[in-house]
């Protein structure tokens, strides 16, 4: 039973990853290319370091940027574009497996009864908790935005926001179970219990704003929209497919008296 769910989660995750990867390729890649072009133009316009310091510092000028997108890059742009599908596919595979195990734990304990409804509700909750909550505090950035020196602290803060989102869901569910007054009281209590820790984290955690002076606002907006859209496409495709397959399998086993080998 658990193994069936996990295999289903892995395969549907891979498929949803491919769908989201296609969306990202069409709507996101043009913005990544535009941002890299701006980054390279900025590097080209930078004055060469003074000859005196160049000698003693070993002339590691390009290394100071910590990152290459040009022809001397470790991985070229065409490979990075193929890597987009690899990355989102692997992400979908792994996230799908984790989702299936969480789903197995929730079923019969929390949330809606049918497999389809539970899959949709869980996928929507996961999107809000793991994607939307961190995004609203630390939105996605295109290449050329972000200081390589601060990557570790920014990654840690991002992970903290993911944990806050998940913890807020747990608090909301626990709160909703304690409220017996009525459905609306329960919904409002769950909403408040979710928002209090999330808003507190939004207010208390440090702000990160490393958008360079003069970076086009429209490009930043379009990139962030494409990034959020990629995740929305992934979680929608995943929730719908996982729920659909779950309901179909449940319906088939309910109709046939003997369990079929297929």
């Amino acid at each position: 039973m658990i193994r069936t769910l996990v295999v289903r989660g892995l395969l549907i995750g891979l498929l949803a990853g491919f769908v989201a990867g296609t969306f990202a390729f069409v709507f996101g890649e043009p913005r990544v290319d535009a941002a890299i072009a701006l980054e390279e133009a900025a590097v080209a316009a930078e004055p060469e370091p003074a000859p005196a310091s160049a000698g003693e510092a070993g002339h590691d000028h390009a290394g100071a940027a910590g990152h290459h997108h040009g022809e001397e890059a470790v991985v070229g742009r065409p490979v990075q574009k193929a890597g987009l599908f690899l990355a989102i596919g692997l992400y979908g595979l792994a996230v799908g497996g984790v989702f299936a195990l969480v789903f197995a734990g929730l079923r019969g304990r929390f949330g809606p009864r049918g497999d389809g409804a539970l899959a949709l509700a869980s996928a929507a909750t996961a999107f809000v908790a793991v994607i939307l909550v961190p995004f609203l505090k630390y939105p996605a950035n295109p290449p050329a935005v972000g200081d390589p020196e601060t990557i570790n602290s920014r990654t840690a803060l991002y992970v903290v926001m993911v944990i806050v989102g998940l913890a807020a869901v747990a608090v909301a569910v626990a709160t909703a179970r304690r409220v017996t007054a009525g459905p609306w009281q329960r919904r409002v209590a769950a909403g408040v219990a979710f928002l209090v820790p999330v808003v507190a984290a939004w207010l208390l955690l440090p702000t990160v704003d490393e958008v360079p002076e003069g970076f086009p606002a429209s490009l930043l907006w379009n990139f962030r929209l494409a990034s959020l859209g990629t995740q929305l496409v992934f979680w929608t495709a995943f929730g719908v497919l996982f729920g659909w397959v779950g309901d179909r399998v449940a319906g088939r086993s309910a109709l046939s008296p003997a369990p079929s080998s297929g």
Binding site: I2, V6, V74, G83, A87, G108, R113, N141, A226
Partner: protein, 63 residues
């Protein structure tokens, strides 16, 4: 509450080995795809660069 039969819950002891073994492996994959910059994969910047576009468009911090 008893009019519709609720789907039977998977017993927690059945779930435990999966949570202890599969989840860490799956989360390691997520970490390697989204966040590793050579510390775990020991590939220098190769993994970062290969996953580069995916990291940007999945919305995680990337340089």
């Amino acid at each position: 509450m008893s009019d519709i039969s609720a789907p039977s819950a998977v017993p927690l002891p059945h779930l435990r080995p999966w949570l202890l073994l599969a989840v860490p492996v799956l989360l390691l994959v997520v970490y390697l795809v989204l966040m590793d910059n050579g510390a775990v994969s020991q590939t220098g910047t190769f993994l970062h660069e290969l996953m580069h576009d995916g990291r940007h468009l999945l919305g995680v911090p990337c340089h």
